[in-house]
């Protein structure tokens, strides 16, 4: 395949960025987009130019590191996948492919396509956990969990923290990510203990990081590589209402 690329280049956090044009020939349709970028980078290095910086880790769709905006959508034109699972057969031969970093001020660009997603880590630190004593794993059957609740909690736990929800949201809202964490733990008995502090803490941190607010457009759910449902946002809202109106101090 012969392909043209328009890729965001930015030398550092403070530098001004720009879209630059690249051309590649003889690309296999079975290569992933990350592998195609690897090929492009080898060419750049051979020509004495600086390689394009991009994040990646597992290359099997479970780590959430390779988030980038491809042809106007997070992780490219398909749904339910990350960038490493996007193959060049998904594009027309001769196509021009736009690649940009997430455009969310809470995820500042470090270089080229790499953004700093530590805002999500600080949201987790603000309550997205359960406090348990470390040590030997407890007996799994000692705390019964209703099957339906376990399934819903699993759906939320599928979130890999890639940031696509905030990247695609017209408000740059991280609500689907935060909701996935709040909903996942609030559905399970181990998580109920800290439910009030969790929803208060994570929502306050989400706002402090400068993410926008949710207007339920549904773009996050449509673009989430793990299909995390917006029902978790509704559940987080309800947890927030309960924590605000009914919880004892």
């Amino acid at each position: 395949m012969d392909l043209k690329f328009k890729i965001w280049r930015q030398d550092g956090p403070e530098a001004a960025g720009r879209m630059e044009d690249y051309e590649l020939t003889g690309i296999s349709p079975d290569m992933s987009l990350l592998e195609t970028l690897d090929v492009l980078n080898e060419q750049l290095i051979a020509n004495g130019e600086t390689a394009i910086a991009f994040d990646h880790d597992c290359r099997e769709g479970i780590c959430g590191t390779c988030g980038m905006f491809i042809d106007g959508r997070p992780h490219g034109p398909l749904t339910g996948i990350t960038t490493c699972q996007l193959h060049m057969r998904s594009f027309e031969d001769g196509a021009t492919i736009h690649v940009e970093p997430w455009r969310v001020d809470a995820f500042p660009v470090i270089r080229d396509l790499v953004v700093d997603r530590s805002a999500f880590d600080r949201v987790i630190q603000a309550g997205g956990f359960v406090s348990v004593n470390a040590g030997t794993a407890p007996e799994a059957n000692s705390i019964p969990v209703r099957r339906a609740d376990a399934e819903r909690a699993f759906d939320a736990a599928a979130c890999i923290g890639c940031g696509a929800c905030a990247a695609v949201c017209k408000n740059s809202s991280a609500m689907l990510f935060v909701a996935a964490k709040v909903s996942h733990l609030s559905l399970l008995p181990q998580g109920r203990v800290e439910a009030v502090e969790r929803v208060r803490g994570t929502v306050a941190q989400m706002d402090a990081e400068g993410f926008g607010g949710c207007t339920n457009t549904g773009a996050c759910e449509a673009e989430c590589p793990k299909h995390v449902s917006m029902e978790h946002i509704a559940r987080m809202n309800w947890e927030f209402v309960k924590a605000t109106l009914f919880s004892r101090e």
């Binding site: 328009k6 965001w8 960025g17 879209m19 905006f69 042809d71 106007g72 959508r73 034109p77 736009h98 940009e100 455009r103 969310v104 001020d105 809470a106 695609v168 017209k170 408000n171 740059s172 809202s173 609500m175 929502v203 306050a204 989400m206 706002d207 400068g210 993410f211 926008g212 607010g213 949710c214 207007t215 339920n216 457009t217 549904g218 773009a219 449509a222 673009e223 917006m230 029902e231 946002i233 509704a234 559940r235 987080m236 809202n237 309800w238 947890e239 927030f240 209402v241 605000t244």
Partner: protein, 220 residues
Amino acid sequence: MQSSIAGKLWMAATGLFLCLFLLVHLFGNLQLFLPRPQGQLQFNFYSHLLSSNPLIKIAGLATYAGILGHAVLSLLLTRRNRAARSVPYAYSRPQDASPWYARNMGILGTVLLIFLVIHMKTFWYEYHWGAVGVDSGGHRDLYAVVLAAFDREWYVALYVVAMAAMGYHLLHGVESAFRTFGFQPRRFARLAHRLGVAFAVGVSALFAIIPVYVYLVQRW
């Protein structure tokens, strides 16, 4: 507004309150479908009943407050949301991920606000301070004002366009408001979605049909 979720909750609360107002307003307007002589007396009597009732006056003030709160809060929240992305995407396809009306609630709401000003001038202002006659029942003849207003094609068209905007605004707004309050019926999810759509389409369509019906049938 400290929390973004608190902002959402107030938008949802004022929005749903305004939906209640729409229902009450619609039930009053349905009297315009009644046959002419009784319909005129009935409609004018109802208008008198509302405008002379102190409880309705309080409800009216609450409605103004609701509209003002909904509009001002939307501006504040939109400003905050815009500030969260200072560098726009060079190439973006939002149409692939969400419906256009869900992304343009502010524009649809602005259309409704402009419509509201025109609507208030035509009926509310005229009824209270305009030169309005008296019907055979002794009540101010708002019915005649309605007939005169919808005598003009462009004015009927304006109402139909405004109600289409309201339909799309409600199509996203009603379901969104319930989600915001955490309402997510598991077994009746599809039914709840259909009820939201039915409310948006039904209320807007009935409001839009009235000027057309008055123009085509009641004027003669």
